[in-house]
């Protein structure tokens, strides 16, 4: 498949048109999405109109931008003005937001063509895209397997070649884990680097938007387009984001890489072997790789599954049947709230709201939520200590390759464990990338993970590019 970088160059150079690229993407969706179900909504007319605007700019001699004519898929928890936005929840069925997410406006301003909204676990709560209120997405490599989650729709759309780039959101691994399961590149940028204005909130101290792409360079171009300060997001970093596109070919010569025991322990043998091969590839490219233990990371999973549900229980209080979305009528307002939420939310969302409400409730706050916040300090300090003498950390993205549909739906804790390696970077707010590196014994993709401190994206992209070339 043509990469986003190649396609944008062809559109800018008049070799091809945004319209023909968009028509090709729409054809691919029509042909493949019956089996994959990556999309909840496809806006063919809107996409073709956006493509024609790009082509008109080229015809006028104006530059549409670095993603000129590139079809993109948007996770359906990103608000769009002219497409419905559901967060895969029945409680938002039929809602069309009155504003668009900053990232959507920035993609369009860079020439990208949004073709539709992709499936996710309801409100981004899940690791398989099976918690969608509109049915699961399937892994394009094997449709009996899950694509991962919660950004499973965007990961599957990119993996199937329907679009070169998708946007996802990552609260505990929701970009990186599906990227690994689908064999694509997934980036969780530093917290605050990408505006969350217009992202439907799940756990606000952890949520971050990032790209899923078929190549490291495409992911870098996309990140550079969406990153940067936004006055509409009070958590948006004021410093200009570092250039990642310019760093992609920097290599790893002289870099110190830590292979983190806690980020491979418990993983399947073929996943561990892939990480070891990745370490060897980085060494062959001039990096020094040392083994390192960061025991505090083992506490991340428990802390996350107290902090994220606590924040979610607060964020999701807004779905009360008053201002938007579903309302189930009842005799008084409280009964209406209860009836609406009970009908509109799925099982996993209810589970997390109740878990968070419990962790925040009188008598348990200190023991659960308060403790989890202290553990968050331990995790951040442990990373800082590791980065005192290491440039990049290396580990697995997931303990296994993509699991079968239905394998973990009855056992929430088993599902949560698939995020064990991705969660720590969300707790610390730092950068991480999942990059495909080989396949498991079952033939399914394996993704290795590169982690760095805040704003260390340039060195992570450079290392990811080395692995991409060696894979």
């Amino acid at each position: 498949m043509t990469t986003a970088v190649e396609l944008a160059a062809e559109v800018r150079g008049g070799v091809t048109t945004a319209r023909s690229a968009t028509e090709a993407a729409l054809r691919a969706v029509a042909e493949q999405d019956g089996a994959v179900h990556a999309f909840l909504h496809v806006d063919a007319d809107g996409a073709l109109r956006a493509a024609d605007r790009v082509d008109a700019m080229v015809a006028d001699g104006r530059d549409p931008g670095p993603l000129a004519g590139v079809p993109v898929a948007l996770k359906d928890n990103l608000c769009t003005r002219d497409m419905p936005t559901t967060a895969a929840s029945r409680i938002l069925e039929g809602w069309t937001p009155p504003y668009a997410a900053t990232v959507v406006d920035r993609l369009v301003a860079a020439g990208a063509v949004p073709v539709g909204k992709t499936n996710l676990d309801e409100f981004a709560m899940g690791s398989s895209t099976e918690n969608s209120g509109y049915g699961p997405t399937r892994n394009p490599h094997d449709t009996t397997r899950v694509p991962g989650g919660s950004s499973g729709g965007s990961a599957a759309a990119v993996a199937a070649g329907m679009v070169p780039i998708g946007l996802g959101s990552d609260t505990g691994g929701s970009i990186r884990q599906p990227a690994a399961f689908c064999g694509v590149v997934g980036v969780k940028p530093t917290y605050g680097m990408v505006s969350r204005y217009g992202l439907i909130a799940f756990a606000s101290s952890l949520d971050q938007i990032g790209p899923l792409a078929s190549t490291v360079e495409d992911a870098a171009v996309c990140l550079e387009v969406i990153a940067g300060h936004d006055p509409m997001d009070s958590t948006s970093l004021r410093e200009a984001p570092p250039s990642v596109v310019a760093a992609v070919d920097d290599g790893v010569d002289g870099r110190r890489v830590g292979l983190v025991r806690e980020l491979v322990d418990g993983a399947d043998r073929d996943v561990v072997e892939a990480v070891e091969r990745a370490a060897a590839a980085l060494e062959a490219a001039g990096a020094t790789v040392v083994e390192r233990s960061v025991p505090e990371l083992r506490l991340g999973l428990s802390a996350y599954y107290l902090i994220a549900p606590s924040e979610a229980s607060s964020n999701l209080a807004r779905y009360d049947g008053v201002r938007y979305g579903l309302r189930v009528d009842a005799e008084d307002v409280t009964a209406m709230n209860v009836a609406t939420r009970t009908k509109g939310f799925g099982d996993e969302v209810k589970r997390r709201i109740m878990l968070g409400t419990y962790a925040l409730s009188a008598g348990y706050y200190d023991a659960y939520y308060g403790q989890a916040l202290r553990v968050r300090t331990l995790v951040a300090r442990a990373f800082a200590s590791a980065y005192a003498d290491l440039d990049v950390l290396l580990g697995a993205t997931t303990p296994t390759t993509a699991f079968a549909l239905g394998a973990k739906t009855a056992d929430p804790m088993a599902m949560y464990l698939s995020d064990v390696f991705t969660i720590p970077s969300n707790l610390s707010g730092e950068a991480a990338i999942a990059v495909p590196f080989g396949a498991g014994a079952d033939g399914l993709p394996i993704g290795v993970q590169l982690l760095g401190p805040a704003r260390a994206e340039p060195r992570l992209f450079a290392a990811a590019r080395v692995l991409e070339a060696a894979a």
């Binding site: 069309t96 937001p97 504003y99 917290y191 009528d329 307002v333 109740m354 419990y358 409730s361 929430p412």
Partner: protein, 99 residues
Amino acid sequence: MSALTRADVAHVAALARLALSDEELDRYTGQLAVVLDHAQDVAALDLEGTPPTAHPFAEHTVLREDVEAPCLDRDVVLAQAPAVEDDRFCVPRIIGEAP
């Protein structure tokens, strides 16, 4: 730490404005207890003296200049509401309701 009971789950469901059937109450009690059991590794730590981190980077209150700026169009916003009356969101009876 006391084990999670069915009554605890019924209590938090009521706080969260969720109605659960008896079957759901049993199922959620079991599932949430497993998650809380796993969390004992965190709950049992002695972290006296370790400060909490609620946010990845030092948070400051962010204020914008106090100048008029366009906001969302009222009609566009109200068009998405389940019920509207006299340019306002319309809800069922509130006054006279039990607290």
